[in-house]
């Protein structure tokens, strides 16, 4: 299979945005029946490369060859006409329509002027059966899990595609079982001759499913490699562009053991909860600690965080902050108590897209100061500059729209927004989600540094390694309930997994 003809070649691709060379003479080649991964740090040009291929952006220079013939792609319909289908990270389907409707929407088979429902349902079933997804196609899409919805999106893409399928981070919201399910579908497609471009941040997944990998860095092509001839450490160092020693230093994140967590509680809750969202919980957060929340997707981690920040209003129990007891709080109150909150869904809940980096950074500080005490422009620029330097946010200017930054850099801006308010409690809900290895290590290092400087941090992550690296104490959740607590000595990946799997060691 490896000596196949290339189906798609992209040659000497250039794409420039104002102030940024997003793609600089990049070549890319996709063979028939291979799964080819695209890797790189944030801002390396992965998304841009995908977007020029799918016609979202137009290239400045370069050629596309499809089966050896030159093609032009200047709009999304051009890409579709050439049989290139894409499934994006966020599912772009209609949750209130049936599975079959979702697969055929916009190209419904007709019979005598009206939609041929029989054929739609029959064909949809056949299509899904081929991929061994056995579900009722007449049921609403929202009746199924995210993973199934993702598969439906993929089968729709497969049906409209003629040989090339792009999967842009399809696994980022799936759990391990669901990922396996997705992979078996991908293998089936591959065996049937489909060429797949697979974008993911998870190294393990790349090694499990891919044949080849193309690495980009800062808009330049680093190279294309057979995955079984490239060691993990080589892959990572090629992505980051740092040598191995430096990389090991980055990965070797250890807590400063001399740090003392005081016994004093910053926050206490008693039977605090909300019906249907999270079971009542008793939680205390000690001053200066990094408290981790571990659990599977949907276990209630995010809900705990949003209750503590007051986004979800509690309907029973109490919360005690700084000696005062409340029956519920709201974001404004939480900010008045100098809490900061980096939400899980960065795009929908964190980033104010069309505003500049400077404005995004000062937003929370300004809102805590109120309407009349407007921060003078000069001071705003100082603050923005300080955090752009401190967090090494990659941008040509602080007046750049935050939309133009890569995911990791956007995350840093949101973090800067809260650091600028000098919070006593910083709540980080999956801060490293969807960002690359290098930026992940940087963020973890930052969490530890902040904690060493006395900040209290509530840290939520799906990646156990991060929790192990950073946390002083971990609360484990399952099924919207706190089921266990691990002290510093007990924190290891195995113990966390065991607690999640078996339930409470010590019901806290």
């Amino acid at each position: 299979m490896t000596e196949q003809e290339p189906v798609l070649q992209m040659q000497h691709i250039y794409k420039t945005f104002p102030g940024v060379k997003a793609l600089n003479n990049v070549d890319f080649e996709l063979k028939k029946g291979e799964i080819h991964s695209l890797m790189g740090e944030n801002g390396a040009g992965k998304s841009t490369l995908i977007k020029v291929l799918t016609g979202v952006y137009e290239i400045d220079e370069g050629t596309f060859l499809l089966n050896g013939k030159e093609i032009k792609i200047s709009s999304t319909s051009d890409a579709q006409k050439n049989g290139i289908s894409t499934v994006y990270q966020e599912i772009n389907l209609c949750a209130n329509l049936s599975v079959a409707e979702n697969i055929y929407i916009g190209r419904e088979p007709k019979k005598g002027g009206s939609i041929d429902w029989k054929k739609i349902n029959h064909d949809a079933k056949e299509l899904l059966d081929k991929l061994e997804i056995h579900i009722d196609v007449e049921k609403k899409l929202s009746d199924y899990s995210l993973a199934i919805q993702q598969m439906v999106a993929i089968s729709r893409a497969v049906d409209t595609s003629r040989g090339i399928l792009i999967l842009d981070e399809p696994t980022s919201s799936l759990d391990t079982n669901e990922v396996n399910q997705l992979f078996s579908v991908m293998r089936k497609l591959k065996d049937s001759g489909m060429s797949i471009i697979f974008v993911s941040h998870f190294l393990e997944q790349i090694y499990e499913i891919c044949d080849r990998v193309t690495i980009l860095r800062n808009g330049d092509l680093v190279g294309t490699y057979d995955i079984d001839k490239l060691s993990r450490i080589d892959l990572v160092s090629k992505m980051i562009g740092k040598d191995l020693d430096e990389l090991e230093k980055l990965n070797d994140i250890k807590q400063n053991s001399s740090k003392q967590v005081s016994g004093e509680n910053l926050l206490e809750t008693h039977g605090y909860g909300k019906r249907g969202t999270i079971e009542p919980f008793d939680l205390n957060i000690r001053k200066g600690e990094v408290l981790g929340l571990a659990g599977l997707l949907g276990s209630g981690r995010t809900e705990v965080a949003s209750m503590l920040f007051g986004i979800n209003k509690a309907d029973h129990g109490t919360i005690k902050i700084g000696g005062k007891t409340y029956s519920y709080i709201y974001p404004k109150k939480a900010i008045a108590e100098s809490f900061g909150f980096c939400p899980e869904d960065r795009k929908a809940e964190g980033v104010a897209g069309a505003l500049t980096i400077r404005e995004n950074i000062i937003l929370a500080l300004q809102s805590s100061k109120g309407l009349l005490r407007y921060i003078p422009m000069k001071k705003q620029q100082e603050i923005a500059k300080k955090y752009i330097d401190l967090l090494s946010i990659k941008t040509p200017s602080m007046e750049q729209q935050i939309d133009n930054l890569s995911g990791g850099n956007q995350q840093k801006v949101i973090l800067a927004r809260w650091l600028a308010t000098d919070p006593q409690l910083l709540i980080l809900d999956e801060p490293t989600r969807g960002i690359d290895v290098g930026a992940k290590s940087e963020l973890q290092k930052l969490i530890i540094e902040l904690s060493n400087s006395g900040m209290t941090i509530l840290f939520i992550s799906s990646e156990l390694k991060e929790l192990v690296n950073c946390c002083d104490r971990i609360i484990v959740l399952r099924d919207q309930k706190m089921i266990g607590e691990l002290s510093k000595e007990e924190i290891r990946e195995e113990t966390i997994m065991k607690t999640i799997a078996e339930g409470g060691l010590r019901v806290g």
């Binding site: 986004i311 929908a348 809940e349 980033v351 069309a354 809102s367 309407l371 005490r373």
Partner: protein, 344 residues
């Protein structure tokens, strides 16, 4: 916007949101220079300046005021289609006070007071109760003129109070209305750019969830925008009724809300909310008023007036669409791009 722009380069200006509105206004003025005799003539009479230009400024003031309010509302992803009705209400309220023998000050305060009440009503419906802006303000749009007619018992109120009439027709070198416009423009500028109000409005318009999570009281800010819009509409109502020495519940400010939306859009503020441009809106409002005056002074038959207006407005709006900008800018990037690739 406007404040720092003066020192930037011409190329920055051509890319700014202000560029096309200003070009459109200039083109219209240029057209008048050749086609309308005496358009730019300014006469000095009794120490006052008279001429078509001052007439335009005088008549544009109500539109400028409500367009400024509309811009801030639209920036929050809202819309206020009731401003025309608010104009009618404030016009009859202040006229009633004058007719009943009240002082000018009390008439003005009563007019503005009615605007505040209307603004609070809209703000409550849209922001705190959560009705969609179009629907929420539609209520007052429909009922407003009815309320105004109830106040006047269906009559057109006329008055002669010289002091009150002076607001809309008076001169002090230039029309008094111009001073009102300038004062309001300064206040709006200070409010939106020297307090954090402007930032909060833009941030809510771009992403209201993120704004709320950053601690911004989005409901209160949105509420305030409707109150501001109500106040500005009521001042416009006072100017209009003072100018024609009567308050007509049926016709005062009729269709003006549509011109205000247009002025906002021409000025570069997107209907999707977010960034707003007060200076662009002012140019947009001046453009619309100049256009109206031009059409009248050319003696275009009334039945085609609206068509002419529509065609020109469509052209101005099209020029600003991304598709058109792309078409227009197509040749340039290729030339600019070369050095980038060769430099390596």
């Amino acid at each position: 916007m406007g404040e720092n722009k003066t020192k930037t380069l011409f190329s920055d200006f051509t890319h700014s949101k202000m560029f096309w509105p200003i070009v459109a206004l200039m083109a219209l003025l240029l057209f008048n220079l050749f086609m309308t005799p005496g358009f730019f003539t300014i006469q000095m009479k009794d120490g006052h300046l008279y001429g078509s230009l001052f007439d335009i400024l005088n008549h544009a003031t109500p539109l400028i005021l409500i367009s400024l309010g509309m811009t801030v509302v639209i920036a929050t992803q809202g819309i206020d289609i009731s401003v025309g009705a608010i104009i009618a209400i404030s016009a009859v309220v202040s006229a009633t006070v004058i007719v009943d023998g009240g002082s000018v000050l009390s008439a003005v305060l009563a007019g503005i007071g009615s605007g505040i009440v209307c603004g609070i009503w809209n703000g409550l419906l849209v922001s705190y109760i959560g009705i969609q802006p179009m629907v929420g303000t539609l209520i007052l749009y429909i009922v407003g003129r009815g309320i105004a007619q109830l106040i006047t018992a269906g009559q057109i109120l006329t008055f002669t109070s010289p002091a009150f009439v002076a607001i809309g027709t008076g001169y002090w070198l230039v029309p008094v209305a111009c001073y009102v416009a300038i004062a309001i423009i300064i206040i709006m500028h200070l409010l939106t750019r020297k307090t954090s109000f402007g930032l909060f409005v833009e941030s809510i318009g771009v992403n209201s969830t993120a704004s709320r999570y950053s601690g911004i009281n989005a409901k209160r800010i949105i509420f305030c925008t409707y109150v501001i819009s109500g106040i500005l509409a009521s001042i416009a109502g006072i100017l209009i009724c003072s100018n024609i020495k009567s308050a007509d519940a049926n016709n005062a400010g009729l269709w003006l809300e549509l011109d205000a939306i247009l002025a906002t859009v021409i000025g570069g503020t997107s209907m999707n909310g977010g960034r707003f441009y007060l200076s662009g809106t002012i140019v947009g409002a001046l453009f619309i008023q100049t256009l109206t005056t031009t059409i009248y002074s050319l003696g275009v038959p009334t039945e085609v007036t609206l068509v002419v207006k529509a065609v020109i407005v469509i052209a101005v709006c099209l020029i600003q669409t991304p598709v058109f900008i792309k078409m227009f800018a197509k040749k340039k990037p290729v030339v600019q791009m070369k050095p980038v690739t060769e430099s390596k």
